[in-house]
């Protein structure tokens, strides 16, 4: 599933999500994810609170999350 957050895109690939630990839930300081126990799975529940810190992406062992396209200094210099 893909969501647009301003210029950035937040992607959560359900089929890849399989570690069962919920490291993304733990790493997110904003409470974007919820950990459902029976059956164990991750749910994106509060995407409005995402601040694009990319911690979830970094801790996911299965690469099921990707956040791309946030505005960077380079974009500005290139006049985007």
């Amino acid at each position: 599933m893909k969501w647009k957050l301003g210029k950035a895109t937040f992607e959560f690939i359900k089929d890849k999500c399989s570690c069962g630990l919920g490291r993304c839930v733990e790493a997110c300081g904003q409470g974007v994810f919820d950990f459902l126990e029976k059956p164990q799975k991750i749910k994106v529940v509060n995407l409005t609170q995402c601040i694009l810190c990319r911690q979830c992406e970094e801790v996911c062992p299965k690469k099921a999350i990707s956040i791309q396209g946030a505005l960077t200094m380079q974009d500005i210099r290139m006049g985007k």
């Binding site: 950035a8 490291r23 300081g29 126990e37 409005t48 609170q49 601040i51 946030a70 505005l71």
Partner: protein
Amino acid sequence: MKSEKEAYDILIIGSGMAGIRAAIEARRAGLKTLLVEKSILARASASIYAGGLVIRRPPEYLVKMGYIEPGMEFEKPFDESFHYFVKEGARTGGSLYTANQRVSMTVACEMQSRADELRDFGVKDVFSQAWLGPIGRKGRDIMLPMVQYAKKIGLKTREMTMITDLIRQGENIIGAIGFDILKGHFMIFLAKAVVLATGSHGQIYQRSYAPIRMTGDGYAMAYRAGVSLSDMEIMGFDNWGIAEPGLPQYWFPPSIARISGILRNALGEPFFDRFAKEQGILGEGATLSPNDTLSRRYGRPFIELIPYLIKACMKEILEGRGKDGAVFLDLTHVPEERMYVDHNGLWGLNILRGFDWKKKPIRVAPICMGDFKGGGVRIDENGRTDVPGLFAGGDVSPGSSMLYALMTGVRSGRGAVNRTLSLPMPELDAKINGWVDERKEELKAIFHRRRSKRGDPQKIKDEIKSIMWKHGGVLREEKGLLEGIRNLKEIEQNCLPMIFASGSFRKLREAMEAINMVKVGEMILRASLFRKESRGYLQRLDYPNRDDKNWLINSIMRKEKNEMKIETKPVDLIWIRPGEDQEGGR
């Protein structure tokens, strides 16, 4: 629930900056050390989100543009940095005279070497954090190499294990109990020394951008173990955050754009000009020009303006000139390039998600991260609390900031090491064994308890947050504080006995956090009621002025016979005293 018992020389609770640094100190001494974290290592801490350690000389173009705020620069003479740290760097709730200057000064003497030492841990760029990289991730470039280093030197860590209580046997702390969330085991940890590094309480307020696990567990644990906490009333709101529906509730970074903005109320009136004149806070050379940054406009460094800005915003909201609990930050007059000049502004744009700030003002409201606070578990300059065996460092102690956490982390770790060397491994006596069993049964009861309407931990948390925001927030007064205490007591009596985890250990963690939050909330409200003046970030409507004659004291909170008892201690001012500070202390 299976029980497991483990024994260590040193037990460290919390894996933020202070915890990791204390752990490194313990491991360097070759001691058997365990670091426990209720979430995953470092990632759930506030340190990850911290704005970096220190500010090096900022980029030349910003200096040229005249946008630079005074701050700590290590390339400046040591004196200046030292002065700055003791005054501002420890961020003791905007209250210099109740801050423990002895602690700030002792650690400040070491700051250069502590910062340099980070290079040994593999931190690449110690000084430039504040200007490079996207905000919200700056602390991670320091934290992650430190975690790697700690593991390399043999630190044993235990993630997803929540500590619920410290074990106090007689006059000493001899370990802690808790539960392993993944395995579902009840854990008993014995230790010769325990370092508390659980961070602060930011999540206790409705308007908060603290990471969600910052629920003040350390304060509550320490309180239940009879440890003294000081100045719990001086808890700060350090910022204003975005309050637009559909956008994250997060602070607006202090970008050039933000500090060029104009605060307006619902009537469109630029209220801070009026407020600044009324309160007499205009500094020398204040231009009052909307084109200048706030510090030039009002003639004072931004960091000194913050408490007034927050207070003014809240006053407008309370007096009915806000909109949906917010005021407006007008950036429509700000030239676009100010938004784009640094990473902070850019980050702001990313969070705004296409909100057109050129067309309409943004709704903002005061927000708390749990830093800028003068309260916490009382420590001396060696990280010792007033109960032997317990040490504390970082945000759980009175003070806050990455640098403060780094330095108190070292002190508390070293204090723990010194204590350990002279002691045999403690053993539980029969009485404490009984207490441990009782606590285990209580946890089991919550774990197995079925769902009910009143006992949902998440709902209880939300309720505490709204009570605290309403009655213990930016501006407080006796009536509200009393009502807040009453409301919390109601939760304690009606909801906590029903609190359930319905067979989930993650929910059990949530439940224990809620129980801790009620206690921390009550401490903050009671302490605020006690101090009959306004000081730093404690702002009372019924006592609006600072009263150095009667209230130049530390309030000390302790549990005695199941009651919260507050007594006072004279402040320990060894350096800057009221009237002696040329720049006008707070």
